[in-house]
């Protein structure tokens, strides 16, 4: 890199907070023409926020903007919208495809930027009656595809393409955006996890295409969890953690291990008094999962084998999209699943929520509002419903009819409102009126009310404030200790898992990549998360 040249993009002292929560602290970096920058970090490290600032997304503007300055070609810029970014030659390919299924590659590449010819009706009814100029459309798309240098048929409908070609179509669309009248040539591409859905061969093709673009002077910010790819293709590597840039190094003799260390390597001393030594020899296996597969979109589980011991708290961690959420959702019958699961020696019938609940399993879903709660009903209903339906609690007989026992329901709700310090005006309040943290406590209360023998808790602290977080974690720990209930807790936050679990399993690519005691150094977990490290 020629350091004397004016950098293409420079960010200086970028800071951002969301409602008092500082998500970016003083971020500085420089990107040169034709440079491929690998951007690495755990979920929530601040990568997305940084990119959203670059593209002037509404989510940034509507929350009070950002501090610091952004320079393009040495000039301070203030983008009003992502269109301004585009006009500066900056394009982004998002993780989710944004393609029209029945349209061909060409039609998708030029979507809403189609070259047009005037028609008879244009003067009468306006520009939208222009006829599409198919020849020019083809030309633009072929140009873009050629620049990428990939085998992509421009006239194939997207829904018949392999997934890799869809990804290429997305990239080609960004490249083609410099064919507009006012737009500058595309100089910077941001690729967010482009290889996550690709096969190895396809990913290779993509990396080759990236190198080709870079040799033509296009700079690329490459966000990926696949560290090998980062090392293979990038000129420099930037690691983010907790809203800070931890490392920015040139890609020379960098090893995967060190990147992984930088990613997760915050060595917070776990409070000693919360640690306990769990005696695995005395605890029998409670839940045994063998060859589990789950078809949960975005969180596919391929082949999971894991034993959970009675009375332990097992943590399941891993990066988003690797399949950790699929495990509880599959076992509890919310998504189609297969494999052998036995609980206390009895085989479990999968895909039957009722059977699983009857067997004494319970689940606190990560999707509070969608799965966990009856938003339009009272807290009483939310707390008592599961136990009423599964265990016939809170019912009273009246002749041949079983009624809801309003008194018992009120009693149990009041008990949990008190025990879990749920803030509400009354137990008749509707669940949707509560804050996220209190909603989460209601979900826990619902599960506790069912007196489960084993409890799955999925992302229990997602989207709730710090105070509530600690309370939820303490509650779980206490529940486990006092009632001897086995808990399987799934979380994206490794430190949270380390603070209350006995062991932690890390899921990558739909499989258990390793299980370590919670006291292991966090760098070991980091290695497992990015697909490295020994299987234990």
């Amino acid at each position: 890199m020629n350091e004397q040249k004016t950098p293409l993009l420079e960010m200086r002292h970028i800071r951002k907070n969301f409602f008092g929560n500082q998500v970016l602290h003083d971020v500085n970096f420089i990107l040169h023409e034709g440079e491929i920058l690998g951007l690495v970090g755990e979920n929530g490290a601040g990568k997305s926020t940084l990119m959203n600032i670059l593209f002037a997304m509404d989510s940034i503007k509507n929350t009070g903007g950002y501090e610091g300055e952004m320079l393009i070609d040495g000039q301070v810029v203030n983008f009003e919208s992502s269109l301004d970014a585009l006009n500066q030659g900056i394009g982004m390919v998002h993780q989710e495809f944004s393609l029209i299924p029945d349209f061909t590659a060409t039609e998708n590449i030029v979507l809403n930027r189609e070259p047009q010819k005037r028609s008879l009706f244009s003067d009468l009814f306006g520009d939208r009656m222009d006829v599409l100029d198919r020849a020019k459309m083809d030309e633009i798309s072929k140009n873009a595809i050629n620049r990428l240098g990939v085998p992509l048929e421009s006239d194939m409908p997207v829904n018949q393409m392999p997934v890799g070609h869809k990804q290429f179509t997305e990239i080609a669309r960004e490249l083609s955006k410099d064919s507009g009248e006012n737009a500058k040539k595309i100089r910077l591409l941001v690729l967010d996890e482009p290889t996550a859905v690709l096969s190895e061969k396809e990913a290779e093709n993509l990396l080759t295409a990236m190198k080709k673009l870079s040799s033509e002077g296009v700079a690329i910010i490459f966000i990926s969890h696949r560290l090998q790819e980062i090392i293979d293709v990038c000129d420099s590597i930037m690691v983010m953690r907790d809203g800070k840039i931890i490392q920015q190094v040139e890609n020379k003799n960098v090893e995967i291990n060190s990147i992984a260390n930088w990613m997760v390597g915050r060595e917070v001393a776990v409070k000693e008094n919360t640690k306990r030594a769990f005696d695995y020899d005395k605890a029998p296996v409670d839940l045994s999962i063998k060859h589990l597969w789950v078809n949960m979109p975005g969180e596919v589980v391929r082949d999971v084998n894991i034993d959970v011991h009675k009375g332990e708290i097992l943590g399941i961690g891993g990066l988003a999209g690797q399949g950790k959420l699929g495990i509880p959702n599959g076992v509890m019958g919310l998504y189609p699943a297969g494999g052998e699961v036995t609980f206390q020696g009895q085989p479990l019938k999968l895909n039957s929520p009722r059977f699983l609940l009857d067997s004494g399993l319970a689940f606190v879903s990560e999707d509070r509002r969608g799965v966990g709660l009856l938003l339009d009903e009272s807290l009483e209903w939310n707390v008592s419903f599961g136990a009423m339906q599964v265990r016939d609690d809170f019912l009273k007989k009246f002749g041949p009819i079983t009624w809801r026992d309003q008194e018992a329901i009120e009693e149990v709700t009041a008990k949990y409102i008190k025990d879990l310090e749920i803030r509400c005006t009354s137990s008749k309040q509707h669940a949707k009126e509560l804050s996220g943290g209190n909603q989460q406590k209601i979900c826990l209360a619902k599960a506790f009310a069912m007196n489960p023998k084993l409890l799955f808790v999925s992302e229990p602290t997602r989207g709730i404030d710090i105070g509530a977080k600690q309370l939820v974690l303490n509650t779980l720990r206490k529940y486990n200790q006092e009632n001897g209930v086995t808990i399987v807790m799934i979380s994206s936050e490794l430190e949270e898992l380390r603070s209350i679990c006995d062991r932690i399993a890390i899921i990558t690519d739909g499989k258990v990549h390793g299980i370590l005691p919670a006291s292991s150094p966090s760098s070991d977990f980091g290695l497992l998360m990015v697909g490295k490290g020994s299987d234990k």
Binding site: P353, L357, D358, L374, E377, W381, M388, V390, T402, R404
Partner: protein, 347 residues
Amino acid sequence: MMNKIIDFVHKAGLPRIIIGLFLFALFVIAPFVGVKLDISLTNVMNRFGMNCVMVLAMVPMIHSGCGLNFGLPLGIISGLLGATLSIEMGFSGMVSFLMAIVFSTPFALLAGYGYGKLLNKVKGGEMMIATYVGFSSVAFMCMMWLLLPYRNPTMVWGYAGRGLRTTISTEGYYLHVLNDLLSLKFGGIVIPTGMFLFFALLAFLMWAFLHTKTGTAMTAVGSNPIFAKASGINVDAIRTLSVIMSTWLGAVGILVYEQSFGFIQLYMGPFYMALPAVSAILIGGASVNKASITNVIVGTFLFQGILTMTPSVMNSVVHTDISEVVRIIVSNGMILYALTRKSEVAR
């Protein structure tokens, strides 16, 4: 004070208040333009009693999240089969009415079961399909009314000796069996106590059902089907049950209607009967996925009240009967309002 009013308006919903005030105004104006209040009141009560069971038939399906029961004609047809069978057998009086319910029950259960299974296959598109299931079944029964071997001369066409007539009088069978039961007279006002009691019985049973374990599950299914599934509820079975209940109530509803109206209307008669019932419950404050017994009572009263009062008052004031137009605009406007409300779309 102002806050209280705003709160009340918010709770009761603006459309209901406007309609309520309109109805109130009609009652106030009525004596001044020469409309006899006692007759009007009797009419309103009578029509309320006639229609409220059919409006009640909306409740189970709304509760289970199947949406507004535009397929009510299916239940009505079961009722018509029961009615004609009971008359064919020659039962009379209260027995005739009760036998009609008994005979219509198996049809309602069967039709409701099939209809429920069908609606489970088309989750998300229930209302449009329900509408057309209703229409097709009415058209199908048109053929059946012609072909079924009914013999009772009060019901079949005199000249051909077969094929049911388009309207059949319930006189001599179960005309007014509920209306006249325990009916009270205050001056010119007649209260059809029997009809009210019958509705009260059904409404109580519905209320009680919603307080049982299964009833609770039904509400949960309508409120959040994924929550219900995660809680081990067989969502499809609950939905089917709700559709069966709605269909059976539709069947009973038409029988109550006929005993007061005096005629059984076959062929295209049941065709548009779903719409008034749907709009009545919506006027009563129900939404596409929430409904209560109170909604049924308030809605039927307001809707039927307007239908009864508008023509008599309007006739006296402007000598024009625009009640039909008012009915169409109010009822469909109400359904549109419910369908396009933002909160419901977000679900």
